[in-house]
């Protein structure tokens, strides 16, 4: 499956190149930015497109080559969301942060091209696929809004937020593949598809706390499961972090003591426990779905 999926990255990449090259309604300026942003993204691989392919391939009797276009369309939507997210977070890792006002147009073009591409394929159930794309994209945008507002400050509301923001996009990718093959979607695929996004988001949240750099959620006064756990403690470190979060003026944090409390006080372990709960939920749902063992192996690795 690993070799097959590597080949799949290449096929999706080729389809993206063709989509960008053949879009007649954009000019040279926009096209060259689309190409360059796509190139930056290609290094990371196309996990969402692969989820779509994996589910289409699992449920279809006859493989339609247009599935690579659909996988590419999903990746266009994901890239547009990544660009907007980075611009909102003022993340300067990628070239799209250099001229944000132009990058916004690239993201908008990608978003429109995504649904248009699916609509122009030959699949019988393409209209349901477009509806799924729009519904889940809206759910994700709603989650992103809640995330930006930084108002999900307890475990339940935080999990609901990442369910919408991240879970929607992974569920969408799985369901579009399934619906194009079968004409209908299943509750099991929707559930584990969503859980994959939640699991990956919790892992990202833990990673963000590993270094004391500009992306550290705690330094940025953001909320995530380990931070919610830390703030719920009653000790000197949690009091200092609470003061840091509540004060507008510049403040000091003892990095070593805070890191020690995160890693040895249960905060990271708590986040890992919640992630594990979703892993087991996802594995249970996957058991009830008729996907090949190779496909299941791939999905299980995303659930770790």
């Amino acid at each position: 499956m690993r070799g097959l999926l590597k080949g799949l990255d290449e096929r999706i990449n080729e389809s993206l190149d063709i989509l960008i090259e053949n879009e007649a309604l954009i000019g040279h300026e926009l096209r060259s930015m689309l190409k360059s942003f796509k190139e930056e993204k290609s290094v990371l691989g196309y996990s969402f497109g692969k989820l779509c392919y994996c589910h289409y391939e699992a449920f279809t009797d006859c493989l339609d080559e247009d599935i690579y276009k659909v996988a590419a369309a999903i990746e266009l939507l994901i890239l547009s969301f990544d660009i907007i997210d980075d611009l909102q977070d003022k993340d300067s890792d990628y070239s799209w942060s250099t001229i944000p006002e132009l990058s916004f147009n690239v993201a908008l073009a990608m978003l429109v091209m995504a649904s248009r591409t699916i609509r122009e394929t030959s699949f019988e159930h393409k209209n349901i696929a477009v509806q799924i794309l729009e519904d889940y994209a809206l759910r994700s945008i709603n989650g992103q809004q809640l995330d930006l507002l930084n108002i999900c400050r307890d475990d339940q509301s935080y999990i609901q937020m990442i369910d919408q923001k991240s879970g929607s996009l992974t569920a969408m990718s799985c369901l579009i593949g399934e619906v194009l093959a079968k004409g209908e979607i299943s509750h099991e695929v929707e559930e584990y598809g969503k859980y994959i996004g939640i699991i990956q988001q919790i892992k990202n949240d833990i990673q963000s706390l590993k270094t004391w750099g500009p992306k550290n959620d705690l330094l940025n006064k953001r909320y995530s499961l380990p931070i919610i756990y830390l703030l719920a403690q009653k000790n000197d470190v949690s009091n200092a972090v609470t003061n840091y979060y509540n004060n507008d003026k510049a403040d000091f944090l003892d990095n070593n003591a805070t890191e020690n409390m995160l890693t040895n006080g249960g905060a990271i372990r708590y986040a890992i426990t919640v992630k594990n709960v979703y892993k087991f939920k996802a594995l249970n749902k996957l058991e009830d779905v008729a996907i090949s063992e190779l496909g299941k192996d791939y999905l299980k690795r995303l659930m770790k």
Binding site: L44, G45, S47, D155, Q200, K203, I206, Q207, I228, Y229, A232, Q233, G265, G266, I268, R269, Y270, I272, T273, V274, N276, V277, K279, F280, K281, N284, Y298, R301, L302, K304
Partner: protein, 52 residues
């Protein structure tokens, strides 16, 4: 779940007893208990190679 982790952090001996199945967590499903014990196993794989 948060309170369970807090309690186990303060009472690490209980983790060994749970692993040895000599005690049980009331109100926690067997899967949740496994999720907790896995988190206390010390093996943390945050780099998912598949998510690339």
């Amino acid at each position: 779940m948060m309170h369970v982790i807090q309690y186990l952090e303060k009472n690490p001996d209980l983790v060994s007893l749970l692993k040895a199945q000599k005690v049980s967590l009331i109100g926690i499903s067997s899967e949740e208990q496994k999720a907790i014990l896995d988190a206390f196993s010390g093996v943390i794989d945050l780099e998912s190679e598949a998510w690339k």
